[in-house]
Amino acid sequence: MTKHFGGLVALDAVGLDVNEREIFGLIGPNGAGKTTLFNCVTGFYMPDYGRIQFKGENLLGLTPHRICSKGVARTFQIVKAFHSMTVAQGVTTGALARLDSIEQARKKAASVLELVELADKEQIPIRNLTTVDRKRLGLGCALATEPKLVLLDEVAAGLNPVEIDQVTGLLRRIRDLGVTLLVVEHVMKLIMPVADRIAVLHHGKKIAEGKPADIAQDESVIDAYLGRE
């Protein structure tokens, strides 16, 4: 797919195939087009050219809430949240995407909160959460919509090493539940051990794709992104 903003080419004929039940990492320097690609897939932007398919179904041109109902959820880089709700209410809101009854949605939310390790904080107002808990909450809200694919935007940004390890474990657990993850990430410590495959974007172009170990050795990736010793 391709996306321009005025004269700037944010995405230049980038193609990605993500397999079911894998953690796919998308890395690249700032301004490489990672978030733009995200916004195209989830319906917030309309690509200029291209196709977006999910399980054989077209997603191109659908509104974000329709895409969510097809089973594709996302989190946001700048952690967005319903600031006037409690943790439980926020996740319940997500659960209502598939359920009409508040009671059932609350039950669903409770099980999701267990998964993202926020069960003990469910009555806390969202605006009082720490950064790492907000990331957990964002993930929880997305998971409550029962997605098959979750797109995570910079989940490790602003976290300390211990928290990054916790999130890494969480991503593995989510994948093991049968959810596919497309992870946009800056922090190598998180993405290298957890990803099954990685693609590298640079100036809106895909310059490499493969297993984490191969990516780390790739000449063009080292030039563009990882840097030389």
Partner: protein, 294 residues
């Protein structure tokens, strides 16, 4: 009057406070309600109760049009406010120039003996108070129920963060339109009540911008998006305006005083008077949908 503006403020709050869209054009809905019931009564002696229902339908229709225009264009913040003022002004100017509806003179409702059918009570004004009380309680009950429903969650979600709401599968356009339509219809009921209370409607008394201002000052002062905010706000603002008119005199100064108060509250305490109490009595504010404990 406190009751009426508590009601109108609550209706406004449903559409605007809960979804965060500040409409300054609710006078149009009020006017459409007032005119519909009044016209039907004058021309065919249709009971104002039925007139109010039809007025609500017409206002809901207009509310949907306003919503489609504003939300499809993606108008936000100040632009949304200006658009709603402009659309309400279009309605007002149309009615001023509509000779069959009395033009700028407006319409006088013919006085008959007290009766529920005619919605007129002159020997004693007490029935008006009870009718208003019932309308207000009905609305509060409906809102309280809604706060614990899917709609309540979705309205709050949209107010807090529209993009996030959309990404969680909420059809934000649909729910915003719904809030606007319901709010418009409820406001039209208030318009009919006002018409029957003062027995007179004119574009400048039910459709002008200052009427919208009257409506929204209550919730802004009391606390937007809260259940009791519009009530508290109306109970504070309306007596102050009444006293200003009585002791200082002059139409206009009342708005200066009330306006200063509103701006003051908006600047210093955006969560309104209810916000002041929230720390102490979280339960009374019902700011967000209640979670049942256990």
């Amino acid at each position: 009057m406190v009751g009426l503006f508590a009601y109108l403020g609550s209706a406004w709050n449903l559409g605007c406070g809960y979804t965060g869209k500040l409409s300054w054009g609710h006078s149009a809905f009020m006017g459409l309600g007032a005119y519909t019931s009044t016209m039907l009564y004058i021309a065919y002696r249709v009971t104002p109760w039925l007139g109010a229902l039809l007025g609500a339908l017409i206002a809901a229709g207009f509310g949907t049009i306003v919503g489609v225009i504003c939300f499809r264009l993606g108008l936000k913040g100040h632009y949304f406010v200006i658009a709603t003022i402009a659309l309400a002004e279009i309605v007002r100017v149309t009615f001023i120039n509509w000779a069959d509806l009395g033009g700028a003179w407006g319409l006088l409702i013919p006085v008959v003996r007290d009766s529920l059918y005619d919605f007129q009570f002159h020997s004693t004004r007490v029935p008006y108070y009870y009718i208003m009380l019932l309308m207000l309680l009905g609305l509060l009950y409906a809102k309280w129920r809604a706060a614990n429903s899917k709609w309540g969650y979705y309205f709050t979600a949209i107010k807090d963060d529209e993009e996030m709401a959309e990404s969680l599968g909420i059809d934000t356009f649909k729910y915003k339109l719904l809030a606007m339509t319901i709010s418009a219809a409820l406001t039209a009921f208030g318009g009919t009540f006002y018409a029957q209370y003062v027995m007179y409607v004119s574009p400048d008394t039910v459709m002008a911008v200052h009427v919208s201002t009257d409506i929204l000052m209550g919730p802004v002062v009391g606390g937007m998006g809260t259940l009791l905010g519009p009530l508290l706000g109306a109970a504070i603002i309306q007596p102050i305006m009444e006293l200003t008119r009585a002791y200082v005199g002059g139409r206009g100064l009342d708005y200066v005083v009330a306006g200063l108060l509103t701006v003051g509250v908006a600047l210093m305490r955006p969560s309104g008077v209810v916000g002041l109490f929230e720390k102490y009595f979280r339960a009374i504010s019902l700011r967000s949908p209640e979670i049942h404990q256990g």
